[in-house]
């Protein structure tokens, strides 16, 4: 059959042409094309990876920010609490100090009053004794006339003075 007849010319030519085609395309077409496709895919992969990393970084930063915020808030609360405590302490201290100061003043005043009183009493005693002496003198003077009466009077006067 004609269809299957071998043709050495076509075999030789197709071998030469096909191998040349293969060589030229491999060198000048497939190599750069495959390299370019690979490079681009690499690039896309890298870009996607980078995007992924960026998202992760973003999430990390957000979480960190959140943490920082929480920490700051906690710190603020702490500081406020401390400040409040400090204020309370100060107020309390001031109160107690004022109290002690007051009691001290009161004490002082009391002591002063006591002293004054004592001084007044002493003075009064002195005055009373001088007054008594004066009285006694006058009584003596008046009673010296009557001796017995004089003695009774002195005795009763002295009794009165001592009671005081």
């Amino acid at each position: 059959m004609d269809l299957f007849s071998p043709s050495i010319g076509l075999i030789v030519w197709s071998t030469i042409v096909f191998l040349t085609l293969l060589f030229i395309l491999a060198k000048f077409a497939w190599k750069p094309v495959m390299a370019a496709i690979k490079e681009r895919e690499q690039f896309i992969d890298d870009a996607l990876n980078k995007a992924e990393l960026a998202t992760q970084e973003m999430a990390r930063l957000t979480a960190q920010n959140e943490d920082l915020m929480k920490q700051a808030r906690a710190e603020r609360d702490e500081i406020l609490k401390e400040a409040k405590m400090l204020k309370d302490n100060i107020v309390n201290e001031a109160k107690t100090q004022a109290q002690t100061e007051g009691t001290k003043l009161i004490e002082k005043a009391r002591i002063e009053i006591e002293n004054q009183k004592k001084a007044a009493l002493a003075e009064l005693k002195g005055q009373v004794s001088s007054l008594s002496l004066e009285i006694a003198e006058r009584v003596l003077r008046s009673q010296l006339d009557d001796k017995a009466k004089q003695q009774d009077l002195v005795a009763s006067l002295l009794k009165d003075v001592e009671l005081n």
Partner: protein, 386 residues
């Protein structure tokens, strides 16, 4: 290794369907040839006769003539009036190389016109160039034919640029221009998305890489990509070029067994040169089976080494040739029925079959590439799963 996807894929289902479909049609065609019409040379030129001749139209010879190789691109006209693109004839005879243009035969392919060159006389007999007999026979052919129309003339080694060789070179040049152009646009638009023709080609390249090379060849796919890509685009382009009915198409290159032979021999060589010990061990001393079985399997496996590329060769040749025969046979209906009114029917069918042939052209290129990748993959894989 997973082969199941080949058989499961929708494309193969389609091709199976088409194969059955084509088989159905070719049965119809084979019913048509007239058994009483000898494939004689006289009948041959009656295609455009105005019906004045009463000879039977020989459909077989007509079709075989059209799918065969020839020394020139016939454009139009008949006999001496035909217009054809002349191609160089290069012959190797005992006393050296002889070259002349095919126009020297004056469109004769019946051995009637003798060309004298370098002291040798040549005739073109059914597109084969013989050394002419000294005297013509009773039909005026400078041939000595026996009873079976077999020529006993000397057949010089023919390295002519025939229609197929011309198409071969033409397609190679087109492919080089196209793909070097594509490569340049990659260089120009470095790292950017493909554009224009580049974006048309890139999915096909990625398809070959991701669906053919990587599943079959695994990690070692890169080294085989140039061959797979070249063979795929070469077959595909020539399949489609063969569908173009006029110059520079029309040559039945991928439907020529000589070309498919060359392609499958290259696949065969790559497969066996790259094959590792594992592969040869599986052929000559199949592991995991009893010794008598090993001895029994070795010749079968060895046969498989050769049948695989032979199947590759026949498959492409038969599919493409069948498509051409089908189209021609449908056109021949007009001449068989001798009625112009059958022409619309023929044309509708031819357009339909041509559409299918476009698909078959792709599918055959795909199958050739897949099987090439598969055979190479089988030969180079490290850990067989049997």
């Amino acid at each position: 290794m997973h082969f199941s996807h080949i058989f499961k894929s929708k494309k193969n289902l389609q091709s199976t369907f088409l194969a059955l479909f084509l088989a159905f049609f070719s049965l119809n065609v084979s019913a048509h040839p007239k058994p009483d019409a000898p494939a004689s040379a006289e009948n041959h030129g009656t295609v455009a006769s105005e019906g004045t001749k009463t000879e039977e139209f020989d459909i077989t010879a007509f079709i075989l003539h059209h799918i065969a190789d020839s020394h020139g691109f016939h454009l139009w006209g008949e006999g001496d009036n035909s217009v054809a693109v002349s191609l160089p004839v290069i012959l190797w005879i005992d006393n050296g190389l002889v070259t002349f243009m095919s126009s020297a035969f004056h469109h004769d392919d019946e051995g009637k016109h003798v060309v004298e060159k370098n002291g040798q006389r040549f005739v073109n007999y059914h597109e084969k160039i013989y050394i002419a007999s000294v005297t013509p026979n009773e039909h005026g052919e400078y041939m000595s034919l026996d009873a079976d129309h077999k020529a006993s003339n000397v057949l010089p080694l023919d390295f002519s640029i025939t229609k197929n060789v011309f198409t071969l070179i033409f397609s190679a040049i087109i492919l080089i221009i196209v793909f070097v152009g594509v490569a340049n646009s990659y260089a120009k638009r470095k790292g950017k998305s493909p554009k224009g023709f580049q974006s048309l080609i890139e999915p096909v390249i990625l398809f070959i890489r991701d669906d053919i090379a990587i599943p079959n060849l695994g990690a070692k796919y890169e080294g085989y990509m140039p061959y797979l890509l070249t063979v795929f685009f070469f077959i595909w382009f020539n399949n489609i070029l063969g569908m173009v009915p006029f110059f520079p198409g029309g040559a039945n290159l991928t439907g020529n067994i000589n070309l498919t032979l060359v392609l499958s021999v290259i696949t065969f060589l790559i497969t066996n040169v790259k094959a590792n010990g594992h592969y040869w061990k599986h052929i000559f001393w199949m592991p995991g089976v009893p010794v008598p079985m090993k001895i029994f399997l070795a010749p079968l496996e060895l046969m498989g080494v050769f049948t695989k590329p032979i199947a590759l060769m026949i498959r492409l040749f038969a599919n493409i040739t069948a498509g051409h025969i089908l189209v021609l046979a449908l056109l021949c209906l007009i001449f068989v029925f001798k009625s112009i009114f059958i022409a619309p029917v023929s044309i509708v069918f031819v357009v339909f079959i041509s559409m299918i042939e476009l698909l078959v052209g792709f599918i055959q290129a795909f199958i050739f590439t897949v099987l090439t990748a598969l055979f190479i993959g089988l030969a180079v894989q490290e850990h067989g799963e049997h």
